[in-house]
């Protein structure tokens, strides 16, 4: 986490006391508004390189937040928490930085000696239970285009031992 917003907003006569976690994936360089996961109060923040440059400044009620915190909890109340992806409170975790920070990986289908590798996306789903993956990558059925390309390579003698 690069920073937190500890919400002290008065809710029903008691401070809200919710810690909203601002994750670097989203907030590293960020200017905008974000809500408190518990009471919904909206704060304006400006973060530069992971530091709170200005804010958090409370916004008038009814302001729509640009985004939500990733996770929040209430450490003074036995760590009641709002896990990632709680609807209307926290953001789902995609594990991806915002697009501007994303490099484009080199996607390849064959290793330097010409044999197939699983180095491209998207991949077919596992077709198993609970994320289970079958032990062998059945290339012929799951990736028929790569299989066909591999057969061509074999025929051309482009597949080597080293």
């Amino acid at each position: 986490m690069c920073d937190i917003i500890w919400c002290k907003k008065d809710v029903d006569g008691k401070p809200c006391n919710t810690v909203n976690y601002l994750d670097p994936y989203c907030f590293w360089n960020w200017k905008g508004t974000v809500n408190c996961a518990n009471c919904g109060t909206v704060y304006a923040i400006h973060m530069i390189q992971g530091h709170m440059y200005s804010g958090p400044d409370e916004q008038p009620a009814g302001t729509k937040p640009d985004t939500m915190p990733l996770y929040a909890d209430k450490p003074l109340e036995g760590y009641i928490n709002f896990p990632m992806g709680t609807e209307g409170r926290t953001r789902p975790f995609e594990c991806l930085p915002r697009h501007i920070y994303l490099g484009v990986p080199d996607m390849v289908k064959f290793s330097i000696r010409g044999r197939p590798v699983r180095g491209w996306r998207p991949q077919p789903k596992s077709a198993g239970i609970a994320g289970q993956f079958p032990y062998n990558w059945d290339m012929k059925n799951l990736s028929p285009d790569v299989w066909a390309e591999y057969q061509e390579k074999l025929a051309k003698g482009e597949v080597k031992d080293w």
């Binding site: 975790f93 594990c95 991806l96 044999r115 197939p116 991949q123 993956f133 062998n136």
Partner: protein, 477 residues
């Protein structure tokens, strides 16, 4: 007959044909094979899978991340232990997304994230393990977590101090469930005043004093340097494995488990050699000495004038293939070296090792060596010096290591067909020492997040498939 030989009297008096071993000198010669062939036969690279596994029967839990603690378990998994790697649901070990340059190269990672893959930085730290996803801090998952603790020999974790205790799964909880349990906490600083500091490899190198004596001295334009590729992560992980093996041996004798606490910043201190005792005796704070050696001279790496691959596209080949190590610290070798580079004066000036190992002498000697090598390529220097019987080898890059016949023959670098990810060039498992009877081996490099959930929750722990599916849908696993 001498007294001590009496115990062997039955052997000594027995006729030759009844004794073990060769029956004649000819037979003995026939049974002997050259040492090279003998080694090839007993180590047999490529035939590891047919041999037994030393740690078969050990079941280990890995609630670890990055390299340091995972590597402690990887050593066990390569030697045959049954290891379950626990990862956060749908996310996995952060190391999967870290390196190199945050790029993911091998897909898939998880069904819910079809465009995310795993970077090669994850390689070698978690091979042969079963991949289970579990948010084990949830109260709802405690039962499953405790159930596997009762069925396992040990666990390695890497969380901040007290985290597992807060989650009621630290050593003092688990030893009540399983008194034979071996619990490893691989912390950054370990307990002490800096207890709450986390750690990374670079932090360990810096805090332990290793980085301060690594790299060139400032007068050579150098700075303190970290070793590349997190070598203290790999090193500390291996040290933990030693602890685990010792704890397993202790448990065979006593039936009791152990808690192992391992501080990464402390581990790097061990490889500093004479640094601390020298300070203790003389008050000398050790300095950096780059690619040279404070104990021996000549014994260092020199820069040659020409690259071996001047036309290569890759700058690592084109510009960097210019370094070679030279060793000629004994008087006769040093004389031969001075003769080769046609500097007989240098030999007469630094005839004794005591003279040439001095700092100023080394600056002079290496400068003269590099002056001689400035119009030569790396391979020319190697050829000339090796021709004189001196120890000299090029500083090789990855490609040259890959193409090196020595490593191919020994099976150190080899291709493997991973069951899920296809063709992978492997250099980790088989470079970590050879065992003739129970060698290390690599079954798979890694598996997607939760790939073995059904094997683990259903087949091992006995939960119904419907329950497993329910947990999966709730992202608890």
């Amino acid at each position: 007959m001498k007294e001590w030989r009496k115990q062997y009297s039955n052997l000594i008096e027995a006729p030759l044909e009844e004794q073990h071993g060769p029956k004649s000198r000819e037979e003995l010669d026939e049974m002997k094979m050259p040492y090279e062939d003998y080694c090839r036969a007993i180590f047999a690279p490529g035939h590891e899978m047919g041999k037994p596994e030393a740690l078969k029967g050990i079941r280990w839990m890995s609630t670890t991340m990055y390299i340091f603690t995972p590597h402690s378990v990887a050593n066990l998994a390569e030697l045959g232990a049954e290891v379950y790697k626990f990862e956060m649901p749908r996310m996995g070990d952060p190391m999967k997304h870290t390196s190199p340059f945050n790029e993911a190269y091998l897909y898939p990672l998880h069904d819910t994230r079809p465009v995310t893959g795993t970077g090669f930085g994850f390689l070698n730290a978690n091979p042969n393990e079963y991949y289970v996803s579990m948010d084990y801090h949830l109260p709802e998952m405690k039962e499953a977590f405790y159930r596997i603790i009762k069925m396992s020999d040990g666990l390695t974790e890497c969380y901040r101090p007290g985290t597992f205790d807060r989650w009621k799964q630290s050593y003092r909880y688990v030893q009540e469930l399983n008194p034979r349990f071996i619990y490893v906490w691989g912390g950054g600083f370990g307990y002490g005043p800096k207890c709450f500091g986390g750690s990374y490899d670079i932090l360990g190198q810096a805090h332990a004093g290793l980085a301060s004596v690594t790299g060139h001295h400032e007068f050579m334009g150098g700075h303190c340097t970290k070793h590349s590729n997190w070598c203290i992560d790999w090193y500390s992980g291996t040290q933990i494995t030693f602890g685990i093996l010792a704890a397993l041996h202790w448990r065979r004798k006593t039936g009791l488990g152990t808690m192992i606490e391992f501080s990464q910043v402390q581990a790097a201190t061990r490889c500093l050699g004479h640094t601390a005792p020298m300070y203790g005796r003389f008050g000398i704070v050790r300095q950096r000495w780059g690619n040279w050696d404070t104990q021996l001279c000549v014994h260092g790496i020199i820069l040659c004038g020409k690259s071996d691959f001047p036309d290569a596209i890759n700058p690592q080949d084109r510009l960097e293939a210019r370094y070679t190590m030279v060793s000629a610290f004994q008087d006769a070798d040093f004389k031969a070296l001075c003769d080769v580079i046609k500097k007989p004066d240098m030999y007469s000036k630094y005839m004794k090792h005591k003279d040439r190992v001095e700092g100023e002498a080394q600056v002079d000697i290496y400068a003269q060596l590099e002056d001689w090598a400035k119009d030569k390529s790396r391979s020319e220097v190697v050829r000339i010096l090796q021709g004189e019987g001196l120890l000299c080898e090029p500083v090789m890059n990855d490609r040259e290591v890959y193409e090196n016949e020595h490593y191919r023959v020994r099976g150190t670098v080899r291709w493997m067909d991973d069951p899920l990810f296809g063709d992978v060039l492997q250099h980790g498992t088989y470079s970590a020492g050879l065992l003739s009877k129970t060698p290390r081996r690599l079954y798979w490099i890694w598996r997607p997040v939760g790939a073995d959930n059904v094997k683990f929750y259903h087949e091992l722990l006995g939960y119904p498939i419907s329950k497993v599916q329910e947990w999966y849908d709730k992202a608890w696993i």
